[in-house]
């Protein structure tokens, strides 16, 4: 049982990381980035390609993260501008459609060029014993990285001026503008950050097992579920929801079955919307 829960936590931390990127972008601008899962896959493919040239894993990882962050900035400066010019429901719909289009383009290109592409960062060594359960080194690495990132993010948003600025936009955009904060600029930075996070997710996911080129849609779905359950716009909420759902996922998959598990996770998202729309830690 402990083993299952620990596996759940490992998975959960990955979920959390996945959710943060999406929840930030939504909280700031009301846009659900349906291309998020594809961005993760893009990072994975970039890392895969760089590693084929015998580059050190760390540098390859860096390349992947930077590449996706760069793509994110590009997307923000082009497509997102058009989206943010709209307001309310128009913006929501346009955001959905445009990011969907981007998702198709990225997914199509990647699956066409690298139909069997996959990233697997193998961490050798004996399993480490945590609470009496042997855990693969890859999982340990993945979790530690995720925790570090979580800590950095929480410190950043809680303590730095810029981080406070981000939170203020989420709470009252007009108020933020009146104190001299430029929401456009902040949104671009955060979108780039979400891209970088997608890259980090690609790395950590591929440490636990191969991340294939087809995983995009599934990743987007999980990101969406975590975002909704955690609360739109809340970083801490995304992590909390991620870990909870990760544990639920592994417990359910272990004791009940695969298909039901997915339904349960989806149900959690629906339930959250129906009963407590602001999510666990949302406003």
């Amino acid at each position: 049982m402990t083993a299952v829960v620990l596996d759940g936590i490992v998975l959960g931390l990955a979920f959390g990381l996945l959710g943060v990127g999406m929840t930030l972008v939504y909280g700031l601008g009301g846009v659900l980035n349906l291309a998020y899962g594809q961005m993760v896959v893009l990072a994975a493919i970039v890392v895969m390609l760089v590693m084929e040239d015998d580059v050190a894993t760390f540098l390859a990882a860096l390349a992947g993260v930077l590449a996706v962050a760069g793509v994110a900035v590009l997307l923000d400066l082009t497509l997102m501008r058009a989206v943010y010019r709209e307001h309310g429901e128009e913006r929501t719909l346009l955001g959905l459609l445009l990011t969907l289009g981007v998702a198709f383009v990225i997914a199509g290109l990647l699956t066409w060029r690298y139909p069997s592409g996959a990233l697997y960062i193998f961490i050798g060594g004996d399993p480490v014993s945590i609470l009496g359960v042997p855990m693969a080194r890859g999982s340990i690495w993945a979790s530690v990285i995720a925790l570090l990132v979580a800590a950095v993010l929480l410190l950043f948003f809680g303590l730095t001026t810029f981080g406070r600025g981000v939170r203020s936009i989420i709470q009252d955009e007009t108020g933020a503008r009146l104190v001299g904060i430029n929401p456009s600029f902040v949104r671009t930075v955060i979108f780039a950050l979400s891209g970088a996070l997608a890259g980090i997710v690609a790395i950590t996911q591929s440490m636990s097992g191969p991340l294939t080129v087809n995983a995009g849609f599934e990743l987007t779905t999980f990101a969406l579920i975590v975002t909704v359950v955690g609360g739109l716009g809340s970083v801490a909420g995304a992590f909390l929801a991620g870990v909870l759902l990760g544990v639920v996922n592994t417990l359910s998959a272990h004791y009940i079955g695969q298909y039901i598990t997915t339904i349960i996770l989806l149900g959690a998202a629906a339930l959250t919307i129906l009963i407590r729309p602001r999510g666990l830690l949302g406003r």
Partner: protein
């Protein structure tokens, strides 16, 4: 909204469409079953589109579960007729009824909890995916991924491709007539009002909640009916037939392309995408890329859809005359 004199004008676009559909087989199909099935697929999606238009285009409820509703119609009908000895007709009725019920229920929930567009979208998306998983999980009834051969399908329906074409063409024309009738009635007025400004509509006496639920129920019925007929005419269904990526994404894009809330939007969208499909017979992946590019270009450019753009061009041309535009796009 004049009555008698305008009925002719009102129905004109549908008549034109019906005429085109009637002669299409002879000028385009040749004897190619491939082209025929492409046309049938376009008709199916246009039919889905009209239903979706009723739900989203007319009452702003983002139902990302078109595939699932069609699947309820399809699987509901087929499982019933396969397990019992009821005729195909019963299956169709039951399947459609189930779909209508589920759609109405989803709408009711969305209304009761005052879910906005995004949350309605997410809840229905969740429902879609959950339904897909349900189909996959319940092997006993649904055959899971391997799919279900529709034993109760009338042979004449399953093998006669051109017959299938005319069946769906007729279905589409009926749907369009229903949609048009609604558009021109007080219901259509209520729809326009609530899309324009919900609060104002409520204050003007429009029971927004009721209209939403009615629209969703009717739209879902249309979608379910189409799904059921699809099952019987194809002779074989699997979860992939009604999956989110196969159905919903496509319907959303083609209706938005043609023009949300407009009568001919789904028809134009389905037609254009059918032609696109025919031209892009190369790799599936590249087709995906082109769809994506298409979506981006369209929504960065003609936000309101082709029909609305054409209508506004037409209106500008007719600026001098006091004629009412033929292709009426409500409330945009």
């Amino acid at each position: 909204m004049a009555r008698t004199r305008s009925i002719g004008w009102a129905v004109l676009p549908i008549v034109v469409v019906a005429a085109i559909l009637a002669i299409l087989p002879s000028i385009w199909f040749g004897d190619s079953p491939y082209t025929t099935s492409l046309a049938v697929q376009a008709l199916v999606f246009a039919a889905y589109g009209v239903g979706f238009n009723l739900i989203f285009g007319s009452t702003n409820q983002l139902f990302l579960c078109v595939g699932a509703l069609a699947g309820i119609g399809g699987y509901g009908a087929v499982i019933l007729t396969d397990e019992t000895s009821l005729p195909m007709g019963a299956g169709i009725v039951v399947g459609t009824a189930f779909a209508a019920l589920v759609g109405g229920l989803l709408s009711w929930i969305s209304v009761r909890r005052s879910l906005g567009i995004i949350f309605t979208g997410i809840v229905t998306l969740v429902f879609s995916l959950a339904f897909a998983n349900l189909l996959l999980g319940q092997r006993e009834y649904t055959g899971s991924e391997t799919g279900l051969v529709v034993t109760a399908a009338a042979d004449r329906l399953a093998d006669d491709h051109v017959g299938g074409y005319y069946l769906f063409a007729a279905l589409l024309v009926v749907f369009l007539l229903v949609f048009r009738a609604l558009q021109l009635s007080h219901v259509g007025w209520a729809f326009r009002a609530l899309r324009d400004d919900e609060v104002a509509a409520e204050l003007a006496g429009v029971d927004v909640a009721r209209y939403r639920i009615y629209a969703a129920t009717l739209g879902s019925a249309m979608i379910g009916l189409t799904g059921a007929l699809l099952a019987y005419s194809a002779g074989f269904i699997s979860p992939a037939t009604y999956s989110f990526d196969r159905v919903d994404v496509r319907v959303l894009v083609l209706v938005a392309f043609g023009g949300l809330g407009t009568l001919l939007g789904p028809v134009i969208g389905a037609g254009v995408f059918a032609i696109l499909d025919e031209q892009l017979t190369t790799s599936l992946e590249l087709r995906e890329v082109l769809y994506g590019v298409f979506v981006l270009v369209i929504f960065l450019g003609f936000r309101r859809g082709v029909v609305a753009t054409v209508v506004s061009l037409y209106d500008r041309l007719m600026a001098g005359r006091r004629r009412k535009p033929i292709l009426e796009s409500p409330g945009d």
